[in-house]
């Protein structure tokens, strides 16, 4: 079994090594088999691991020690894996969705000369992501944590000819690094407190500690800083929209389905610690709400198809953190899963559109594509309905669970959450309608030349659509007579956390719950209708009158809208507050402190000696008389001091 478990991450690594070493020699055909193949293999292995887990009479988490890593007296960190429902779920999502996206990429990137490089990076990413979720201690998790950051860097800057992309990649890596520093500090604090990095030891000891202790709050907050960086929450979210510079499959896999959810996974993994720090939970809640609201608002005003999806990702991640903050860990994981499905679907759909439009990403220049790209359209529609949270699509169930949890925790939060849900519905439908309905407004090619993507790309779309449609049934709440399979499956992981959770939740009567659900559905539909009224029937002529929607153009009269379109100038703010001063400081230190001060002191000492020398040498006047005079003075002084005194 150990071998099997070890193989799950190692196969993608192998793929990376082979593709990396032979990135020139290996033909594309082989690569397009090898790349997805390894992922497929580890997907199958993960399923085996899953059944192996379920098959055991009393399902229990298993601990695998593969190899020692940093180990010396009184300190030992090994390459240890922990196989429990949580990691299994993540493994399945990563390898499953990963595999689908790999297949899709084989089609999408087929014309790119960096084909092999692309798959090498993708495999490497899967490797690190698996390490991240399978690790049995924080150190191993950190390996994955930084590794996926690296891969995201490499893949965002995949087309490295373009310095804009490289900047985006660099930004992503650095912002992640900021988070990682927090994470690292958290790890250190964990080690100094619990003398171990292993989940098991840490949690077992943590359980005995009193809730709300300072160290616990510090630990959880520091870890959360890492999550903020990785999962693009306020204030470290600005890298994610820029990350759309990467190829669309990358956006789908890394910046929607898997990597960005690492933060959520980490918090869920450390649920025991978090429930012991209620204050931290509140902080997470606040940040989550702020993030999801901000992102949703910005999303409404974006015109780049991928940017819209990016912001929606940010706000969906906010959802997950909100769920975590109210202790609905299962809900968070559930939404993580469904989100992986439908957001991947949406991105790939967008990718298919962009592919068809030959790189055009501005939705104002699209429209009426549902006839030319029917399959893409239908799958995209499924995705939209899912994210909008309409039954029976997966998004409905996961969102409903979260909303229910939030409602029981506090009405005000619930209201904001619902508001965000509605915004989500609105901008998603806006996106849908502007892209596929109305009439074609493209500038590049006449609509007739556009063609549907190859089946290599469509089939993955369909599979994902299926998942987005059916994924929800995994966890139908008791309210609707479901058994909550996922809940039961994950129960052992969160058992302690649930037990320890202090936050008292008011019991919500079933009637009220049903009412909420119906209300939300109704409002969502309303939003869809509004979006349709506004954007549903834009024709080519209307581009002149209102490109997409005039009053949402930059320079329009409404200040708020202009701000929203410019993402509230947060990037500019960071640039002014952090980047520019840092560069100035660098200049200044070098020019003034380094050269004009420190080095000048060093040279100064030397020069002083030389100056002194040039003066003192005049004692050697060359006149015998003078010498005699000095000598006599010397003699007299010596005699004076020694005899008279």
């Amino acid at each position: 079994m150990t071998i099997l478990v070890a193989l799950i991450p190692l196969l993608p690594l192998l793929g990376f090594i082979i593709l990396g070493l032979g990135y020139r020699s290996i033909p594309k055909r082989v690569a397009s088999i090898l790349g997805p193949g390894t992922i497929m293999a580890s997907f199958i292995l993960s399923i085996i691991v899953l059944f192996n887990y379920l098959a055991s009479p009393i399902p229990h988490p298993t601990f695998y020690h593969l190899a020692p890593w940093l180990s010396f007296s009184g300190f030992s960190v090994g390459f240890d894996f922990l196989i429990d429902p949580l990691s299994i779920l993540m493994m399945l999502i990563i390898t499953g969705v990963g595999f689908i996206i790999h297949v899709y990429s084989a089609g999408y990137m087929s014309h790119d000369e960096g084909f092999n490089r692309f798959f090498a990076y993708m495999n490497l990413f899967i490797f690190f992501m698996l390490i991240l979720v399978m690790g049995a201690n924080y150190a191993v998790m950190f390996i994955g944590w930084e590794g996926v950051g690296l891969c995201s860097y490499l893949l965002i800057g995949f087309w490295f000819k373009n310095q804009q992309f490289n900047n985006a990649a660099k930004k992503a890596f650095i912002m992640n690094r900021i988070g990682d520093l927090g994470f690292l500090m958290g790890m250190f604090l964990i080690f100094t407190t619990f003398r171990s990095f292993n989940y098991v030891n840490v949690f077992d000891q943590a359980k005995t500690m009193s809730p709300g202790s300072g160290t616990m709050i510090a630990i959880t907050l520091l870890l959360f800083v890492g999550a903020v960086g990785k999962s693009a929450q306020i204030p470290l979210y600005t890298w994610l929209p820029d990350a759309m510079a990467g190829p669309t499959p990358v956006s789908a896999l890394i910046h929607a389905a898997t990597m960005v959810t690492a933060g959520v996974y980490m918090v869920a993994r450390s649920s025991v610690l978090y429930v012991l720090a209620p204050e931290t939970m509140d902080v997470i809640g606040v940040i989550a709400l702020a993030t999801m609201l901000l992102a949703a608002v910005i999303a409404i005003f974006q015109n780049d198809i991928k940017k819209v999806l990016a912001y929606s990702t940010i706000s969906q991640l906010g959802y997950m953190f909100l769920a975590l903050s109210v202790g609905a860990f299962t809900g968070a994981m559930f939404h993580l899963m469904t989100h992986a499905f439908f957001k991947a679907l949406l991105f790939l759909g967008a990718g298919s559109v962009i592919h068809a439009m030959e790189g055009e990403q501005d939705i104002r220049k699209m429209g009426g594509l549902k006839n030319t790209l029917p399959r893409t359209y239908w799958t995209f529609l499924v995705g939209t309905l899912a994210i909008a949270g309409l039954p029976p699509f997966s998004g409905f169930f996961s969102k409903d669970e979260i909303l229910a949890g939030v409602f029981s925790a506090g009405q005000s939060m619930w209201i904001i959450a619902v508001a965000v849900t509605l915004m989500t519905a609105f901008y998603m439908f806006r996106l849908l309608f502007l892209t596929f309905h109305g009439s074609y407004r493209g500038t590049g090619h006449p609509q007739s030349q556009l063609h549907e993507s190859p089946s290599m790309m469509i089939i993955p779309l369909m599979i994902l659509a299926l998942l987005a449609l059916a994924g929800g049934f995994l966890n139908i709440p008791e309210l609707m007579g479901g058994k909550g399979i996922l809940k039961e499956f994950l129960a052992p992981v969160f058992a302690d956390a649930v037990k320890l959770n202090q936050a008292q939740h008011l019991l919500v009567p079933e009637k009220r719950e049903w009412f909420n659900i119906v209300l939300v559905i109704f409002l969502v539909l309303l939003m869809a209708w509004m979006a349709y009224r506004k954007f549903g029937m834009q024709d080519a002529g209307s581009r002149k009158r209102e490109t997409g929607n005039r009053n949402w153009d930059a320079g329009s009269r409404n200040v708020f809208i202009r701000w929203a379109e410019n993402k509230f100038y947060v990037d500019e703010l960071y640039d002014a507050v952090f980047v520019k001063p840092a560069l100035k400081l660098s200049e200044g230190l070098h020019r003034f402190v380094e050269i004009r001060f420190i080095d000048r002191i060093v040279d100064g000492t030397g020069n002083t000696v030389i100056k002194f020398s040039s003066i003192i040498r005049y004692l050697q006047a060359g006149h015998v008389g003078v010498y005699m005079f000095f000598m006599i003075i010397g003699i007299l002084l010596i005699l004076f001091f020694n005899i008279i005194l």
Partner: protein
Amino acid sequence: MNALNSIPISYYLMFCSVLFCIGVTGVLIKRNALVILMSIELMINSINLLLAAFSAYSNDPAGQIFVFFIMVVAAAEVAIGLAIIVLIYKTTHSIDIDILNKLKW
């Protein structure tokens, strides 16, 4: 001998020191090489006298023997000195010590 003893040694010491100092001053203030040479001779002779006095007082011949050594050496020194001064005069047509300060700093 008694006549010599009737004068306390300190007088000799004073006298010789004064002589010595006169010599030193001469060396210091004069610029003429010859005069300086003579002043040095004066210094040395004051020392001779002092030594003679000491040896007389401590009834120890060594001092007076030493005086002879000094005289011999001084003679040699003067010989060399005069030769040098002649040499200088040949090259510079002067025996002023301040002319020669090519070597300095």
